[in-house]
Amino acid sequence: MEQIQLVIGRALFIGVLISLLLVAAGLGIFLFHHSTEIIHFQTFQSDRKFIILPNIFVHGFIFSGRELIQLGLIILLLIQVLRVILTAWFFKKIHDPVFVWISLFILAIMIYSLIRL
C-alpha cells in the first residue's frame, strides 16, 4: 500500500522536474530573442491565445520560447490529473470503491475545468 503512495510521490516529483526544465528552457529561448524589449504588465489584456491543447502544436515543431513555457505549464497541469488518476488507482488496489468514486468525481471536475470553453 505504501508502495503505491510512493509511486504517486515519485510521479509528481519527476513531473515537476520535467515541467521545470521545459519552462526554464522556454524562458531561456525567449530571453535569447527578446531580452532588450521593454515589458508591459500593468494592463491586463485578455490573451486567449492559450485555450486548448491542440493550439500549441499548430506552430510546428520548432517551439518559440513562449510556447515551450506553455507546454511546460500544461504538463504541470496534466501531472495533477495524473495525480488524481493514480490516487483513484490506489483506492482500487486497496478495495475501497467509495473513494475510487470520490477520486473520479474530482477527476471529472478537473478535466471539465481544463477543457471548458
Binding site: Q5, L12, V16, L20, L27, S35, I109
Partner: protein, 279 residues
C-alpha cells in the same frame, strides 16, 4: 525596464517569496502576489496566475517527501478535496466578474487572517473524543509515526464542518490564486482535530489538485502569462526548498515574526490601494 532585467528581478523576488512563504508557513503564493502588484505594478490577474502555478509546482515537488514520512492521509485529503474543487471552480469563475479592487481587499483580509492563523497554532488541549460517525463510515481515521517510531492512532471529528471550511478554502484559492494552505490546515487541525503534521502534509498534498482546477479556469481566461509565470515559478520552487531546509536548521521564531509583520504591512497597503481604487 528591459525584459531581461525584469525576469532576473522576478526570479530573485520569487525566490525570496518562496523562502518567506516556507519560513512563515503562509506559502509562496500569498507572499508573491502583493509584491508583484504593489512593487512591480503587475496587473493582479497575471500575478494570481503566476502564483497559482507556483502553488501547484511546490505542492507536487514536496508530495513525495511527505508521503514517505507516512503522515499524509489520502482518504481525508480526497474526501475534503471534493469540496475544495467545487469551491475552487466557482471561485476562479468569480475572478472574471469581480472588480479588481474587491479582489484586492478580499485578498488582504485573507492574508491577515492567514497570518493570524499561522501564529495561533497550538496543540489541542481538549480530551480526545470519539470520531464523527461519517469519519468511521468513510474510514478516515488513521495512524501516524510518533516520536517513538510507533504508529499512533488518531480520531477524526467534525467532518461536515471541515468539509464546509474546505469548500470555502477552495473558493478562496480560486478567487485569489493562492493555495489557502492556512485555511485548509485550519479545517483539518482545528475542526477535525488531526495531529498537526497529518494536517499540514495532507493539506499540502491536496493543494495542488485544488490549484489545478483553478488554473484550468485561469488558462481559459488568459490570466496566465508565460513570460511572467516562468521566472516566478522557478524562483518560488527554489525558494521554498531553501526555506524548508532552513526551517530545520535555524531558530526561526524571530524571523517569522519579522516576515509576518512585513506581510501584514503589504496587506494593509493592498487594502488601501484597493479602497482608493489605485489598482
Amino acid at each position: 525596464m528591459t525584459i531581461l532585467t525584469f525576469c532576473i528581478l522576478l526570479f530573485i523576488v520569487a525566490y525570496l517569496a518562496g523562502l518567506l512563504g516556507a519560513l512563515t508557513g503562509l506559502g509562496g503564493g500569498i507572499v508573491i502576489i502583493p509584491v508583484l502588484v504593489l512593487i512591480f505594478h503587475v496587473d493582479i490577474h497575471y500575478a494570481m496566475g503566476a502564483s497559482l502555478i507556483s502553488v501547484i509546482a511546490t505542492s507536487s515537488g514536496t508530495a513525495l517527501a511527505y508521503l514517505r514520512e507516512g503522515y499524509t492521509n489520502l482518504r481525508i485529503g480526497m474526501f475534503l478535496e471534493t469540496g475544495a474543487v467545487i469551491g475552487a471552480f466557482f471561485g476562479a469563475l468569480l475572478v472574471a466578474v469581480l472588480p479588481t479592487s474587491i479582489i484586492a481587499i478580499i485578498f488582504s483580509l485573507v492574508l491577515i487572517f492567514s497570518a493570524y492563523l499561522t501564529w495561533r497554532r497550538q496543540e489541542d488541549t481538549e480530551p480526545v473524543r470519539a470520531s464523527h460517525p461519517l469519519a468511521i463510515a468513510l474510514k478516515l481515521e488513521g495512524t501516524y509515526p510518533n516520536l517513538k517510531g510507533e504508529k499512533q492512532f488518531y480520531q477524526v471529528q467534525n467532518v461536515p464542518w471541515a468539509w464546509t471550511l474546505m469548500t470555502i478554502a477552495g473558493g478562496l484559492s480560486g478567487l485569489l490564486g493562492i493555495g489557502s494552505g492556512a485555511l485548509k490546515v485550519l479545517a483539518m487541525d482545528q475542526a477535525m482535530r488531526l495531529p498537526y503534521k497529518v494536517a499540514t502534509t495532507t493539506s499540502n498534498f491536496i493543494i495542488g489538485i485544488t490549484a489545478a482546477v483553478s488554473a484550468g479556469v485561469y488558462f481559459q481566461h488568459g490570466y496566465i502569462d508565460p513570460i511572467l509565470t516562468a521566472p516566478v515559478m522557478i524562483g518560488i520552487i527554489f525558494g521554498s526548498f531553501s526555506g524548508a531546509k532552513l526551517l530545520m536548521r535555524i531558530n526561526v521564531r524571530i524571523l517569522r515574526l519579522i516576515f509576518t509583520l512585513i506581510m501584514l504591512l503589504l496587506a494593509v497597503e493592498m487594502i488601501y490601494k484597493g479602497i482608493t481604487g489605485n489598482l
